[in-house]
């Protein structure tokens, strides 16, 4: 028996011919964002999705900020850093980070790390780690995760609230998640090792970070970074001081150099991901601080300010670096001297400073 089919209520598609080029009229070909000047002839997707999303009273924002803090300051005040620019909007992130790049890059990294850890498991490599190296791993390598986490959560994350343009803030937001992801990469690797190596102490890293004398100046350095109000100082002290003098010193100047000789080919690949992230943030820092030291109006003052920051933070960093020295002696196979690692870090920092226009 046939049943009556009730007509469903659905929207009716209509042919509207509302596609580009269907008619010619004023502006029918105006198919690029026209409120900013792209760096090159044609704007990149990064520029299109980033520039001017955070408005600025100095550009198009005619009614000003409509909310203020209790002290009468609103929006994104340029006074939240001691550095000055004739045009903050000139900065474009050389990594061109936007939604698609952020997720592609980080998804690739976590996939690769997971595969590397799994490969170590199937190859049975963890049980063959040199016992002295295991002690270094559980204490020092995983203590390092705290530094990355602290900078991600309490340095880059607050800094990305403060800069006067969307381009700067987005670059720092990406820096924040790099750090947070890398800290989690490390600590989840620690979890994997706890399951793979008999007697592995998966929680000693906390005590090491909090109490071991070799780590205290490094922890103090990180805590000082979190206590800094000036966002540009935070980025500078992180990327130009912390990363070469402490980050690269420990990650590639120590862990990546020595692990393989102790039967560990997995840890260097994880540390390498952190190295790669730090290099990305340094690319941004290099462009931003070069722009500021080159500024026709404010360049000299910016250079003086940056040199003052450099002097203060470098002294603390060198002290922290030298305090880490005993770790280099705790391994069985001594393939790299601490002094060589430190010299390499200093040379890397000098190259970075030269790029920024802050040669010694």
């Amino acid at each position: 028996m046939a049943t009556e089919v009730k007509e469903r209520s659905v929207p009716k598609p209509a042919f509207t011919d509302a596609e580009a080029g269907a008619k010619e009229f004023p502006s029918w070909q105006s198919r690029s964002y026209n409120y900013f000047t792209p760096r090159k002839r044609r704007a990149t997707v990064y520029e299109d999705v980033t520039v001017d999303v955070q408005p600025d009273p100095a550009r198009h924002l005619s009614q000003g900020w409509v909310y203020e803090f209790a002290n009468g300051v609103g929006g994104y005040p340029q006074e939240w850093t001691a550095l000055k620019s004739s045009n903050w909007h000139q900065f474009l992130d050389p990594n061109e980070e936007w939604e698609q790049t952020i997720y592609r890059n980080n998804a690739n990294v976590v996939r690769q790390i997971s595969q590397n850890i799994e490969h170590g498991r199937t190859a049975g490599v963890y049980a063959a780690f040199d016992p002295a190296w295991v002690k270094v791993l559980e204490r020092h390598v995983f203590a390092w995760a705290h530094a990355e986490h602290g900078i991600g959560l309490h340095v880059y994350t607050p800094a990305q609230r403060d800069a006067p343009t969307n381009m700067i803030n987005n670059a720092m937001a990406v820096g924040a998640v790099h750090k947070l992801r890398f800290a989690q990469d490390l600590i989840l690797y620690n979890l994997a090792l706890s399951e793979e190596i008999d007697g592995f102490d998966g929680s000693i890293h906390r005590q090491t970070w909090q109490e071991d004398p070799v780590w205290q100046p490094t922890r103090e350095f990180v805590e000082q970074l979190t206590a800094t109000r000036d966002w540009a100082e935070q980025w500078f002290a992180t990327s130009v001081v912390f990363e070469p003098m402490l980050g690269e010193l420990f990650r590639s100047g120590f862990v990546m150099q020595v692990a393989a000789l102790h039967g560990d080919f997995v840890t260097p690949t994880i540390m390498g991901a952190g190295e790669s992230d730090a290099a990305r943030e340094q690319r941004g820092a290099r462009v931003l601080f070069r722009m500021l030291t080159d500024d026709a109006e404010h360049g000299a003052a910016n250079q003086a300010q940056l040199r003052q920051w450099l002097s203060t933070w470098n002294a603390a960093a060198e002290n922290a670096a030298r305090t880490l020295q005993p770790i280099w002696s705790q391994i069985s196979e001594k393939v790299v001297r601490f002094e060589d690692s430190l010299e390499r870090s200093k040379a890397r920092q000098q190259a970075l400073l030269a790029d920024i226009g802050l040669e010694a």
Binding site: A22, Y35, D48, H60, V66, A107, R161, N169, A176, Q184
Partner: protein, 549 residues
């Protein structure tokens, strides 16, 4: 990753935080709220190792749909009436999204709980995702939709149009002032938990009905992140409720945040859904019906009311009054009419309403035609370029240009509710008692006898008309706003959808018209004149009809 291993991984990453002993993180963003350390959980167990691949997969689906839309010639089916409103909506929404990213350190700084910190940090990068994916959607519209004008100047338009400024508080309000007021109560407890339902769920449904399936693709992808954000906000409000000293502030902030979100979001999204659609099936949900379902039932009754068990007084009166404004006082219709009245200062085109629209409105909102029908007929009549001025400047439209609300910046359209008061040495108008209270009472350094030194202020040049007071309309459009097409002559906004260059309004039709600010004129009146003027204004309406003098 299995659920068990996610639980284990999530537990493990809690080891990363530590108690600083050398120096505390700088207190960048003050709050008057107080939080004791409390072991609140992150029920969604967010871990970056699983988060990034999940989001990448979501992105791949979005970008696949974008390719498909272009190859499938989606724009041969999209309704221009709908797409024009996207020029406004998509100019606004990337800023609230990126502001939500910027708001996360405000909450992190205020709340001493590592699990919540982790969730908030992930929310930060979610919001960067949302902002840039929405900008990219708009870029696609600009490239493939018939009329790119208005998309091409998008962020400039957002920054200098009155409508952009109304939208901007839904963003600036997340990042400025008391950290918890802004980043928790206004952003998460109200904006994300309540109003993203109509923003990101109801509106995409309407887009699909108008031939645009990309907006649903992008915005449902965005909305699927919101449940994590809602969870973040809920954890924080429960922590706040653990301290009796916060109760008074929470009650203040819920009143402000609820009302401001209602005033701003309902104005915009209500207009898009009711006046931007060509789908007039009588069984499709009206905005009022959607609001009743998504906001009244799903949010108010299921989320807000249960907070009373913690001793919190929630703003029942304001929820009911919001509904009263939508259902009985014609809030959405008044706002849509105002947008259309002000078409000359927009950067999108506004289609008039026709008989099929009238029939639908009358069916959904009985009595609608008697209030608004004749004005829309006049709008269509005056949309033709034949020697008259834009409708706002023609007396025959029988429409009194409204005063603007100092607080929410939507005009005082429900005329009888208008409040006039001298605040901070200036005679101001407010759309409602709650907006008056927000400015005069809530955003102040003292509240009900207690010091609130962290509370923000309302600032800026809040009245668009005052900014342009006394200027010629052609000068405003060309020099101040730049809403002119690439021939240097034709306006971007139009009161119709006809793209025949001969039918399009130009600078010539708006030259010689002076824009005046109702607030400037109000302040120039004597006190007696002002009282009389306001009494008459409040007798006016509906549909902006002026009362007899």
């Amino acid at each position: 990753m299995s659920r068990a291993s996610i639980t284990k991984a999530h537990q493990k990453i809690q080891e990363l935080s530590w108690e600083p002993t050398f120096v505390e993180p700088v207190d960048k963003y003050p709050t008057d709220y107080t939080f004791e350390k409390a072991p609140k959980k992150d029920p969604l167990k967010q871990v970056l190792r699983s988060y990034f691949p999940m989001e990448e997969e979501k992105d791949n689906r979005v970008f696949g749909a974008m390719d498909g839309a272009i190859r499938g010639n989606m724009f041969r089916q999209v309704q221009e009436r709908w797409m024009e409103w996207q020029k406004l909506f998509l100019s606004i929404i990337p800023f609230p999204e990126i502001s939500a990213a910027r708001a996360m350190p405000l909450a992190i700084n205020a709340v001493p709980n590592p699990e919540v910190h982790n969730g908030l940090a992930i929310q930060m990068i979610d919001e960067v995702r949302h902002s840039t994916i929405q900008m990219n959607l708009k870029r696609l519209y600009m490239n493939h939709y018939i009329d790119p004008a208005g998309f091409d100047l998008t962020e400039k338009g957002f920054a200098n149009c009155y409508a952009g400024t109304i939208g901007r508080q839904f963003g600036e309000g997340f990042i400025t002032g008391d950290a918890i007021t802004a980043a928790n109560v206004y952003l998460t407890i109200v904006a994300e938990t309540a109003f993203t339902n109509v923003l990101f769920v109801a509106m995409p449904g309407e887009a699909a009905a108008n031939g645009d399936y990309l907006l649903p693709t992008v915005f449902h992808s965005v909305q699927s992140d919101e449940s994590r954000h809602i969870s973040n906000g809920y954890s924080i409000i429960l922590m706040a409720l653990a301290d009796e000293r916060n109760r008074q502030l929470l009650e203040r902030d819920l009143r402000y945040a609820w009302w401001n979100n209602h005033a701003v979001v309902d104005a915009a999204i209500g207009t898009f859904i009711e006046y931007g659609t060509k789908d007039r099936r009588k069984d499709r949900e009206s905005y009022a019906e959607a609001w009743r379902r998504w906001i009244y039932d799903d949010y108010y009754r299921s989320y807000l009311v249960p907070l009373e068990k913690y001793g919190l007084t929630i703003p029942h009166d304001l929820v009911e009054e919001s509904w009263n404004r939508i259902w009985n006082k014609g809030y959405i219709h008044e706002v849509a009419q105002f947008f259309a009245t002000g078409w000359f200062a927009n950067y999108w085109r506004i289609d008039g309403m026709d008989d099929s629209d009238f029939e639908w409105f009358e069916f959904k909102y009985p009595g609608w035609y008697d209030k608004y029908g004749r004005w829309w007929e006049k709008y269509t009549e005056l949309s033709k370029k034949n020697g008259h001025k834009p409708i706002a400047f023609e007396a025959e439209a029988n429409y009194q240009y409204p005063h603007r609300c100092w607080t929410c910046m939507v005009p005082c359209l429900i005329r009888e509710d208008t409040v006039m008061d001298e605040v901070d040495g200036q005679v101001r108008t407010y759309c409602s008692q709650t907006c008056h209270w927000t400015d005069k009472v809530a955003f102040r350094p003292q509240y009900e006898g207690r010091d609130t030194p962290s509370m923000g202020r309302l600032g800026g040049m809040r009245e668009w008309e005052t900014l342009h007071h006394g200027k010629d309309l052609a000068e405003i459009m060309q020099d101040s706003l730049g809403y002119v097409r690439d021939d240097g002559h034709t306006l971007i906004p139009q009161p119709h959808l006809n793209l025949d260059p001969k039918e399009m309004w130009t600078l010539d039709e708006v030259r010689g018209i002076t824009l005046n600010s109702p607030n400037v004129l109000l302040n120039e009146m004597s006190p007696e004149e002002r009282e009389a003027h306001m009494a008459q204004y409040k007798r006016g309406g509906p549909a902006g009809r002026p009362a007899a003098a």
